[in-house]
Symmetry: C3
Subunit: 139 residues, 3 copies
Amino acid sequence: MAVHHQEFTVATRGQGMVEITETCAAAVRRSGLRTGVLTVFCRHTSCSLVVMENADPTARRDLEAWLNRLVPEDDPRFAHTLEGGDDMPGHIKMALTRTSESIPFAGGRLQLGTWQGIFLWEHRRAPHTRTIAIMAIGE
Amino acid sequence: MAVHHQEFTVATRGQGMVEITETCAAAVRRSGLRTGVLTVFCRHTSCSLVVMENADPTARRDLEAWLNRLVPEDDPRFAHTLEGGDDMPGHIKMALTRTSESIPFAGGRLQLGTWQGIFLWEHRRAPHTRTIAIMAIGE
Amino acid sequence: MAVHHQEFTVATRGQGMVEITETCAAAVRRSGLRTGVLTVFCRHTSCSLVVMENADPTARRDLEAWLNRLVPEDDPRFAHTLEGGDDMPGHIKMALTRTSESIPFAGGRLQLGTWQGIFLWEHRRAPHTRTIAIMAIGE
């Protein structure tokens, strides 16, 4: 049994999902571990994680558009507006999705389903550099 | 310290929750481990996991009905419709709930609260066979 | 490699978030482990966890107010009302946020981002005593 800690950054281009599946899979390979769990942790509160369909890009676009309708920007009821009208909606969208995911691996490979990809979901309008902490625990 | 990987399938009967608590508890017992964490991972993007009240079935029915009102099917704004009007709502409902859960166990027993059960939540109208990957890590 | 199991209670004062970051950090210190993952698990179905901005309290207040608007209490469509009009909304809010979080630690410190705090989110109107199970796995 061993544990391997890694960290990487993702450059986002404003609102939208950036696939990080291959970076996570590479972290498992680099760990040298065969069987265990990869913890993926987003170190921010206005972007988040989601494990989503990675075949048809329209599925992600529909999901983003739906969430934008549910949580409109520039809502006059928000008090936390110092960073702009997209900041508080970003926190809400983060809270509705995920900060951490725990993904089993076996034979040195993440046990994702056929259509699953791991995505960092940027909720701010401006590009950001985001940091993801990952930890592989296993044998 | 050791790690035990298992996988099981769940036959769903269309939209609704299927309790998988006992299958998860049995996986811990089969692992022979006493203290650690059970990772439960749903390998799909149109069904999901939730840890929910398992005493009164009306609580789950109310939750399902509420989410169906929040994410109506056949929304003409969706572009990802090839698999039918319940497919994109299924992805959205999945994104709003959980793909992975990490549940501590001690004394060989999952540390669930009195009223908590683990559920696979099918979001598609048709029955499906779903795969859950689980990993017990502990000692 | 080792595993350390702990449990603690949180006294809530009705609806709202209670920060538990320091309690979680102390659990890592007490474990004596340097590198690994802390699993935080909420043993209830009408309160939940969220990793949220912990600098400006208005961000949390905006998030709470937004979720209260999304899931209004005393909805006549709910059948599960025995415990009052805030019970079923509490289950829904729980399902939309998190029951478990997996947080990496390194150098004996949780790898939270600068603005991240871990919160127990009480969804019931009355004060409750809530139990959180935590498990540190690492070396």
